[in-house]
């Protein structure tokens, strides 16, 4: 594929956003990373409304769980009942290891659940592995 993969990161923590951007500098194949800070903003992005006129449709989303305004679960509820958006895989990327949270996310049709690793190195490696899986091993749906 020649067009870069479009990835949407939904994350409120500055530090994580920065580390994710940093990781994506080196990730192959090259991806176009967009960042929004909560679920409500993500819905605007996906619907290309408010400030997101002309925003790309992502092939994959990375979603945090605890965020202000609209958290990960509520966002999943919205996106997984939307006929057009529900095909886009959502990978949970969160620090929670609670069995309840894990279960809830899969209950809400998350495609995968990855716990943010504790060290910066492992964090980068995790993102590399996620991108590698979805772009090289797994098949992503065509989105318009």
């Amino acid at each position: 594929m020649t067009i870069p993969f479009e990835i949407l990161l939904i994350e409120d923590n500055e530090g994580d956003v920065e580390m994710t951007r940093r990781a994506f500098r080196d990730i192959q194949p090259a991806c176009n990373l967009s960042v929004v800070n909560d679920g409500a903003e993500a819905l605007d992005f996906l619907n290309k409304q408010k400030n997101f006129d002309g925003a790309p449709t992502p092939s994959l989303m990375l979603l945090d769980l605890n965020m202000p305004r609209m958290g990960g679960l509520e966002f999943l509820e919205n996106v997984k009942t939307d006929a057009a958006l529900k095909v886009v895989p959502v990978v949970m990327f969160t620090s929670s290891q609670s069995p309840g949270d894990i279960r809830n996310c899969y209950d809400h049709h998350a495609s995968a659940y990855v716990v943010k690793p504790f060290s910066g190195k492992e964090f980068t490696k995790a993102l590399q592995d996620i991108v590698h899986f979805w772009t090289s091993l797994g098949q992503l749906p065509q989105v318009v």
């Binding site: 530090g15 929670s96 504790f118």
Partner: protein, 392 residues
């Protein structure tokens, strides 16, 4: 100490509050003869209680739907439905669970009636003609018991609520505290990696301090999370082969076992109906401690065994480590209590308290036998219901 006192004050205040909101207890008198009802009511009136009167078993049963009673006085000889039959039907009501029934009867004082009444669940018996003093003092005893019970139930509810709040607090704290610690560790790590050649030895040492402390804090938070999860999450029992759990736990300690040349023995551990998480938490902590608390002069020798006891199983984890002074027998299971400096034996002081909390929730207990320098054996028992097939 100051905190312990405050907790006690809190407890006392709750006690006073709980007993302050007293509700007047209800007494139910069932007799088919109006004059008997009135006579009994007159005797009991000085007792601080609401008195309800029913002229038949059916009337009594319909009162049960609307009221909770502290004690029931039931005439045995009544037309249609006699006292025994009424009592049996009453017992089917949930609100009658544990409510004492006193049979009032004029019929013969023969043994067989007494035992029939006892079978139905009567706790007491009064013969006609009624001696007012005896009737009054008997009923008073049951009212007192009822009031005490109510008070305990109220206090329990208060305690349960504050416990739940505490658990929730611990969980949320730990959960939200993980974020900043992870950030500190990640960024200090990135700095170490990226700027190692720009920094002098001292600065690198400082960076290392940040990282190792962040990691220690992360470990503590994780342990607090585990501790607070015990009791919050439902404990599910399933068929557990403890040998499998032991194998998994040993695999986790593979590095330490190799490094120290430890020998860990276990065989013929039972297959039980229990929570696999419980067994994992206990074996992880006890085997982990047995490996850790060693003086390094000889390789650790650890034996995990289980034996059938009267009402379940008793497990033992024995080691040849540094041992524990028995005077620490209680402190060692208290959260955040540590007997060693972290430089000597690192740890968070949460592991054994998690073990105790978990095993007690499952109806068991944990204790140890040891002396300094002579190793330690930690025991825990796990009750197993007779209905379970323990040896599957």
């Amino acid at each position: 100490m100051a905190q312990a006192l405050r907790a006690e004050d809190f407890f006392q205040a709750q006690m006073r509050q709980a007993s302050g909101q007293e509700v007047t207890p209800n007494i139910l008198i069932v007799d088919d003869r109006k004059e008997n009802l009135l006579a009994t009511e007159k005797v009991l009136r000085p007792l601080y209680a609401n008195i309800f009167k029913a002229a038949s078993g059916n009337e009594a049963l319909s009162l049960l739907l609307r009221h909770r009673f502290a004690v029931v006085l039931l005439d045995v000889q009544m037309p249609e439905m006699d006292g025994f039959e009424t009592a049996m039907l009453m017992q089917e009501h949930e609100s009658m669970h544990g409510v004492p029934i006193i049979f009032v009867t004029a019929i013969s004082k023969e043994e067989k009636y007494a035992s029939q009444a006892a079978e139905i669940g009567a706790v007491d018996y009064i013969f006609k003609p009624i001696n007012p003093d005896i009737l009054k003092s008997k009923v008073k005893v049951y009212l007192d018991i009822y009031m005490q019970h109510e008070q305990i139930m109220k206090l329990n509810a208060v305690l349960q609520q504050s416990n739940e709040e505490l658990e929730r607090f611990a969980y949320i704290c730990s959960h939200d505290m993980q974020e900043p610690v992870r950030m500190m560790n990640s960024y200090a790590g990135l700095l170490e990696e990226q700027s190692a050649n720009v920094l002098d030895a001292e600065s690198r040492k400082y960076l290392h301090q940040i990282i190792s402390n962040a990691q220690r804090m992360q470990k503590m938070i994780q342990d607090i999370l585990t501790f607070s999860r015990v009791g919050r999450e439902e404990i599910k029992a399933e068929r557990v082969d403890v040998n499998d759990i032991a194998r998994e736990v040993l695999a986790e300690f593979e590095d330490v076992i190799k490094k120290t040349g430890a020998h860990i023995h276990y065989n013929d551990l039972p297959v039980l109906q229990t929570s696999p998480t419980l067994m994992r938490v206990l074996l992880q902590n006890l085997v982990g401690n047995a490996l850790k608390f060693q003086d390094g002069r000889q390789p650790p020798e650890i034996t995990v065994s289980a034996e059938r006891v009267e009402n379940g199983w008793r497990f033992a984890v024995r080691d040849n480590g540094i041992g524990i002074d028995p005077r620490f027998h209680d402190r060692i299971f208290t959260i955040f209590q540590r007997l060693h400096r972290k430089e000597d034996y690192p740890g968070t002081g949460i592991g054994l308290s998690t073990c105790r909390k978990f095993i007690r929730l499952c109806g068991g207990d944990i204790w140890f036998e040891s002396a300094p320098g002579q190793g330690a054996t930690f025991f825990f028992n796990l009750p197993q219901g007779a209905s379970h097939d323990d040896t599957l």
